[in-house]
């Protein structure tokens, strides 16, 4: 038996950081592909990640063909991980990863823990943009929360943060919380959105706002926060095309709570420490078709790689990471051969690089667009020759899109130097 000591050294074939849906799916697939020595490290006291607080339904339509709540979706993967006997260390915060995959973590049972890993999968998820990033003038009073923090307070801690609520930003978490707080007896007075469209899913706008008569004010922003100790009111204004407040449109709304739902950022402190190259567009790692980062043997999947709206996509992506990490451990290597160029509205792609020899089955390339496009096409060019031309009724920044790169494409363009993906009018 091991003695309890301050310093602990382990060797593991595969270490996965984060036990959210991404980490759990990656573990399951890596195990299926023959990796048995797996350790998942999770800083929270339970596996499941953000899904534990997402008690609403709408998860897993694609993966399980039924609508599950967040905890139910997570439960399926947690059961699977337990069944396979994959080890999870809870309450374990990873502090450092070196380039040669030496991981430092800390937990109350083991103290400081050092683990030498053959391969690492980053699955740390994302965090919300804090208030500081917003720059709203006004006093620093109590009563201002990110929507995700409020979600945790209500659904995990059983505590209602306030009674009269205004929500800034129409992202999905804000919309979900508008309904949740209404059901718990609060009055949600408005959802205020800077852009002329909402980034939230239509379904959430209808079922979380319209159902309860909560107004969605597009092209509006908060210009002032009132209150000394506790929030007492917010002042909102309409904005013009360049998103500047229009004088004379101010109105003041009394409220004791302001929720901010203004976007998510991949949580990449650790990736940075490890020396992983990050994309300025997504805030996540730049990866190749194997979801390998710039550091060999370090892979990334889920919200830490780029923010997803559907957990089904997270699971699909993470299965791939589990599979390619297993291949890496068998000695297969993958590099960065062809860069996928983006233009004409495509903001980024994951992966950003492709090695043709690794495309043995259709490769899903996920991307987001920068604005709303109606009746347009998504095209893929190989060395300037168009190979894919998909008609899209609508493309919106709020919905992740994907196209397939097929083995046949690479066979035809065996000497391909450049792939480009763009949105075209015709």
């Amino acid at each position: 038996m091991k003695e309890k000591e301050d310093y602990f050294m382990l060797n593991k074939e595969l270490v996965i950081i984060g036990a959210g849906p991404a980490g759990l799916a990656a573990a399951v697939r890596a195990h299926e592909k023959g990796v048995s020595d797996i350790l998942i490290l999770e800083r929270d006291d339970a596996p499941g990640g953000i899904l534990n607080q997402c008690i609403h339904n709408g998860f897993g339509l694609h993966t399980f063909k039924e609508e599950l709540t967040g905890p139910e979706y997570a439960g399926r993967f947690i059961d699977k991980v337990r069944e396979l006997g994959i080890e999870i260390k809870l309450n374990t915060m990873v502090l450092d990863i070196s380039r040669d995959k030496l991981i430092t973590a800390v937990n109350p049972d083991d103290g400081i823990l050092e683990i030498r890993a053959g391969a690492v999968i980053l699955a740390m998820g994302c965090r919300e943009r804090p208030r500081g990033a917003l720059n709203i003038p006004g006093s620093r009073c109590a009563g201002i929360f990110t929507a995700g923090t409020a979600q945790r307070l209500v659904n995990i801690d059983g505590y209602m943060p306030g009674k009269e609520v205004v929500i800034l930003g129409s992202g999905d978490i804000g919309l979900i919380m508008a309904r949740r707080m209404t059901l718990e007896g609060a009055k949600v007075k408005a959802v205020v959105e800077l852009m002329p469209y909402s980034t939230g899913l239509k379904r959430n706008i209808v079922q979380c706002l319209d159902d309860y008569g909560i107004p969605l004010l597009l092209s509006h922003t908060i210009t002032k926060i009132g209150g000394k100790k506790r929030l007492e009111s917010v002042t909102i204004s309409e904005v013009d095309e360049s998103r500047r407040p229009i004088a004379g449109t101010e109105q003041t709304i009394d409220c004791d709570t302001l929720l901010l739902s203004v976007g998510l950022l991949p949580e990449n402190e650790l990736s940075r420490i490890c020396g992983v190259e990050l994309s300025p567009v997504t805030g996540g790692a730049i990866v190749n078709e194997s979801l390998q980062t710039s550091v060999p043997g370090v892979f990334a999947c889920g919200n830490v790689l780029h923010v997803h709206d559907l957990v089904d996509n997270v699971s699909a992506e993470s299965y791939l990471a589990g599979e390619t990490a297993a291949a890496f451990l068998r000695g297969e290597s993958s590099g960065r051969e062809i860069l996928i160029k983006t233009s004409g509205g495509v903001r980024y792609t994951v992966p950003a690089y492709v090695s043709p020899s690794h495309v043995t089955q259709p490769l899903e390339v996920r991307f987001r667009v920068g604005e709303v496009y109606k009746n347009s096409f998504v095209s893929v060019y190989f060395d300037g020759q168009r190979e894919t031309h998909l008609k899209k009724r609508i493309l919106t920044p709020g919905e992740m899109e994907q196209v397939l790169l097929r083995p046949a494409h690479f066979k035809k363009h065996s000497d391909c130097k450049e792939i480009s993906i763009r949105v075209e009018a015709d």
Partner: protein, 125 residues
Amino acid sequence: MKTKKELTCIGCPMGCLVSVELEDGAIGEISGNSCPHGKEYAEKELTYPERTLTSTIPVDGGEIRMVPVKTALDIPKDKIFEAMAQVRKMRLTAPIEAGNTVIKNIAGTGIDIIATRTVNVGVWI
């Protein structure tokens, strides 16, 4: 009396604004939908709208404080607040298994409220 009602179809990101003509409550012409799904959706929404209700209930003696719950099937939309009033009065004791019925026949709908997460006996910190 003739009235018009507009609703947003949630079938896909197009989010078509579907308008429905109503004559003394009966559904007349439906327009604005770009595909048949929008018509179906509007008809259902105007005749018998249903929703899944999800919420939480406090738990005593469990490893977590709140157990998430949902209606086992959709319930009529106009029963949501009555159902919530009943849910908010509840308190449960661990252990609870995901899938267990925790309230029978919520708001007289004939549909049960079930737990969506397993709560083992324990202490939360």
